[in-house]
Symmetry: C2
Subunit: 454 residues, 2 copies
């Protein structure tokens, strides 16, 4: 009993202050999703293991939090005479796991509800996911994902609008310098094709993707160790080092990729997205073609996005792309989709570092009424009610506490105004209104107070 209670490793409590800030981020992003026609859904925290297993690779299967079957689970083990090893037992004593991401549950949702859905289906989803990763700074075992996806439309308008969504949401949150990097899987395929290494595209892109971190020589070495020849590298090098604006890069790319139909298609798609974006007049986002951008390559088939802030040192704060067969894993073939995700925890850290949270996010109660006895409480009650009827968030501190305690309470809750009602105030009807930030006081009637705050 004397042991101080704690939360499980890698999980967090969120205090009122943190909740105010998190709500501010999520509400802003949701508002923008809605403006672009995305509708919210939610899926259960737990999914059947048959839904999740095998969708995230071996590592993912290991890191999933599995739910122990309720009831007499061991009975099942004995009936089936299951081998006594963690691996063999898991499948018998557990049939559900916690959501590992929002994408697979979304695919499951689309297939399960396909007859109720009108396509294109634009949905957003903001829910926690769970991963039994080793916790470290910025990596949690429970964290929120914040995704928007459209399925059933191959129009590149969707890709352009995703960039516009990033632009509007991050601008609203106060970010002043960020870049949306855009690439297209078909361009990466084209590069692999022209060196006759279409089968090695994963090795190719894993190496190229590291340019930022290990530099050109590092990438070359990596390519050599991954089985590419010096000749391959000579062909690839100019592509990696492409310079100029998007139009110039595309012109050069088209020359190099001239023999790859897929590669040229990728160039066309990139160009169309940029054509939309020219019309869109983005507010803040810098957009650039970055052909070293790969992300979860096996997954994406068209556009690939990544968002980086240029104001502080931080990993990507968003990403996404197009995938052509998401629902195939559940038997619904040929449904194309595209989606993006906001990295809410990182955005939180960026905003904290740049001091971007508006003061209102730290405020809940606007006015605190302080009385000193029951008489004061009953005297103040009508004012309390009138302020609330006018939509003001107001509290009355329960009578009996010393004034210092009451003012400390106001300060700790960041309440900007306190109305003090002592015996003088009750006699004259003129109540003391204290501005907690400046410390100034004024005497106002109930009517004047109502007018001041309503």
């Amino acid at each position: 009993m004397a042991i101080k209670p704690s939360v499980p490793k890698g999980t967090r409590d969120f205090s009122p202050l943190e909740m105010g800030r998190r709500n501010y981020i999520f509400d802003t992003i949701k508002t923008v999703f809605r403006k672009y026609g995305y509708q919210q859904i939610e899926t259960p925290s737990m999914e059947n293991l048959t839904t999740l297993t095998g969708k995230y690779g071996e590592e993912g299967d290991k890191l999933m939090f599995k739910i122990l079957n309720s009831g007499d689970f061991w009975n099942e083990v004995e009936k089936k005479n299951t081998e006594h090893s963690s691996k063999a037992l898991t499948g018998v004593i557990s049939e559900k796991a916690l959501r590992y991401d929002l994408t697979v549950p979304f695919a499951r949702y689309v297939v399960q509800h396909q007859n109720e859905i009108t396509f294109p289906f634009k949905r957003f989803q903001v829910q926690p996911v769970w991963r039994a990763d080793r916790p470290q700074k910025g990596r949690y075992r429970e964290f929120f994902q914040c995704d928007a996806d459209v399925v059933g439309s191959d129009s590149l308008l969707n890709e352009a609008e995703f960039v516009m969504i990033y632009d509007e949401a991050l601008t609203r949150l106060g970010l002043k310098d960020f870049t949306v990097k855009i690439n297209n899987r078909k361009i990466l395929s084209g590069i692999a094709e022209i060196i006759d290494k279409a089968d090695n595209i994963v090795d190719l892109t894993v190496a190229i993707d590291k340019l930022d971190k290990i530099g050109l020589d590092g990438v070359k070495n990596e390519l050599l160790t991954r089985g590419f020849t010096q000749q391959d590298i000579d062909k690839i090098e100019p592509i990696i080092l492409l310079e100029g604006n998007t139009q110039q890069k595309l012109t050069q790319l088209r020359e190099v990729l001239a023999s790859s139909v897929t590669g040229l298609k990728g160039c066309d798609e990139i160009e169309e997205v940029f054509n939309y974006l020219k019309l869109a007049q983005l507010q803040t986002a810098n957009c650039e073609l970055d052909i070293t951008l790969a992300r979860g390559l096996n997954y994406y088939t068209g556009a690939i996005f990544e968002v980086k802030t240029n104001e502080v040192q931080m990993g990507s704060i968003g990403g996404g792309g197009r995938y052509d067969d998401l629902t195939g894993m559940f038997g619904l073939k040929g449904l194309t989709g595209a989606g993006i995700s906001f990295g809410a925890d990182r955005i939180y850290d960026v905003m904290e570092e740049l001091d971007l949270f508006p003061e209102e996010t730290a405020q809940t109660t606007q006015v605190l009424i302080n009385c000193f006895d029951k008489t004061g409480e009953f005297y103040a009650f009508p004012l309390l009610q009138e302020l609330r009827a006018a939509g003001i968030s107001v509290e009355m501190y329960p009578a009996g506490a010393k004034i210092k305690k009451q003012l400390d309470y106001a300060n700790s809750k960041n309440i900007p105004y306190v109305v003090l009602i002592g015996s003088d105030e009750m006699q004259t009807g003129m109540l003391t209104v204290k501005n907690m930030q400046t410390g100034t006081q004024e005497k106002l009637s109930s009517e004047q107070i109502l007018a001041k705050f309503a």
Copy 2:
């Protein structure tokens, strides 16, 4: 792969329509919580088993969803040479469980963060909880709880404000006839005392609590089988059958309970709460003293609340009360608290039955722009952007689809207006605006459209 995917038993997907309605309920309640000075917190979905075990009785321990330890859990079993039974194994292969309610995690939060908290601490929390109950109509294995609690204040102002919160939130949601029943555990204790059966208070209240369901004779029989004498029953009967308004009931109760200090204290407390409520001028709620109301008796020490709608047949849609030692289980003694809960799923069902959801909850996009080719898309793009800049939720249907398909899309998403941009429209600059509800059409310029919706 051909098996249609599904969600685990007792869990639910929420469609955009359902999310709109659920958000409407939760947002309304949260707004009212905030108006009364309650601040939001969130706690992790999983808690250590040491935090949860033993807090909900044997049944609760069984119904908790336990998380299987990640990694080689069986290794631990072999090392410890644990007996091969479900009961013995659970404690070794699992050390975490999903939240079973919001109250115990809140108590854990208060104790863990006691040095950062200024008391009285008024917090609300809206999060899912999980119980491995047998699923049935209206009972789910994952459902949201919606709680507000204050700890560190014994003022009955808090109790009165809880009734005011119920009144305001449910009135805002459109309920037109509901009752907040109020009782006090001390009155129940007083009744047990005057028949010298203080130790049998649980039996007494379990029986009385059934008055609604089994009638007076049923209650009497139940009391007899639970070891009460005919003499006891003669004394209790007039209390159960108390009539009149609250004041009249209190007068009679005070006479009957004259020999019980605790009972009289309960009467005083009830009276003080009603005195506040007289000043509060409730909008819709009927308030009544109901001395048969017991709820989770072992838990409550003062006020007990329950909310019932009188418009449809439905169990309670809210409840709560005062508890004097919530944090004691984690070693922090003497912190009094009181709290209430809204039954969101039942409120949803009530509102659906009474058709109370405003039409806006079913709407996301306000305007759909329909083009028929890429030229149209690029023509329409500036309007799309201007509408969004004005804060309107607007979508452009990707070019290429037949008009019928586009209008079906608008209907399925409940989009009230469609702007049609064909070649005529592009030539004249006068766009066709169709009201999807009435079917009427008008020709408007881009400027006029902007003025119409902004």
